[in-house]
Symmetry: C2
Subunit: 128 residues, 2 copies
DNA sequence: ATGCATCCTGTAGTCGCTATAGGTTCAAGC
DNA sequence: GCTTGAACCTATAGCGACTACAGGATGCAT
């Protein structure tokens, strides 16, 4: 059994975020001590770590939650899980493409800017 | 002179967002007709378009505003403008690197998932 | 005169936290 | 037993950049 601070350290989820997750129903409500402090089992810490890993992969909280509930069933359909992963991957790839365009636009814009000049090609572009 | 809907069409900024920009001081307060409707000059539409272009390039609103005010000075220092662009470019590049890592992680995770299987390597990874 | 598009204000919701205020509880050292 | 300080508690507000109502006023064409 772990206090919230320890659960935070073990899972990599901040204390405030753990409480937020509980409020929002992302994770189950933690047990409490007689004085009202939250207490976490190893399984609960595992749940937090699972959610954090999903978040690190860019899954929204709702999807993280769904994946965790799939993970808790012993009849989890791998195909359904895969679908979330594939869709997330598609989104990430789309974002990369967008950001690449953005990067080259910024490269072009800044290319001809010079220190001290009061005639700025970047501003000209933004204005036109 | 243009009504807000027309200004929106001309600038590519939604009506709600234009009002939001005014509320937040991103743009100046628009003139009003006798009945209280906002009215936009071509210059005001240009301002909106400028802001939208900055946003499209990923600049935060504050920076967009700053760039617009630089653009309005006739003594704008091109070096200062360039600094914003370069810093934005660096951020975009950092994000691309992160997203690439994410994409390859997702590719690995989903690679061994198969339709219909109840033994899911992606969930196993997320759990472990 | 009617109807519909457009406009107005004000407020709340989105997402995923983060921060603050103001309080209680626990554990260690003296 | 007492004090101190860390860790905990709740409740609320703020972030960024919108978006989405609700409930009403206005403008314009038929």
């Amino acid at each position: 059994m772990h206090a919230i601070g320890e659960a935070s350290r073990l899972s990599g989820v901040s204390v405030e975020t753990i409480r937020y997750y509980e409020r929002e129903g992302v994770i189950g409500t933690a047990e409490r001590t007689a004085s009202g402090r939250r207490v976490y089992t190893d399984a609960a810490v595992g749940e937090l770590r699972f959610i954090r890993r999903c978040r690190d992969l860019g899954f929204p909280l709702q999807v993280a939650r769904k994946l965790y509930s799939l993970s808790s069933e012993n009849t989890a359909d791998c195909g359904e899980v895969r679908a979330f992963g594939v869709s997330q991957l598609a989104e990430v790839k789309t974002k990369i493409v967008e950001l690449r365009k953005l990067a080259s636009a910024l490269e072009e814009l800044t290319a001809n800017c010079a220190e001290g000049s009061t005639n700025c090609p970047m501003l000209d572009q933004l204005r036109s």
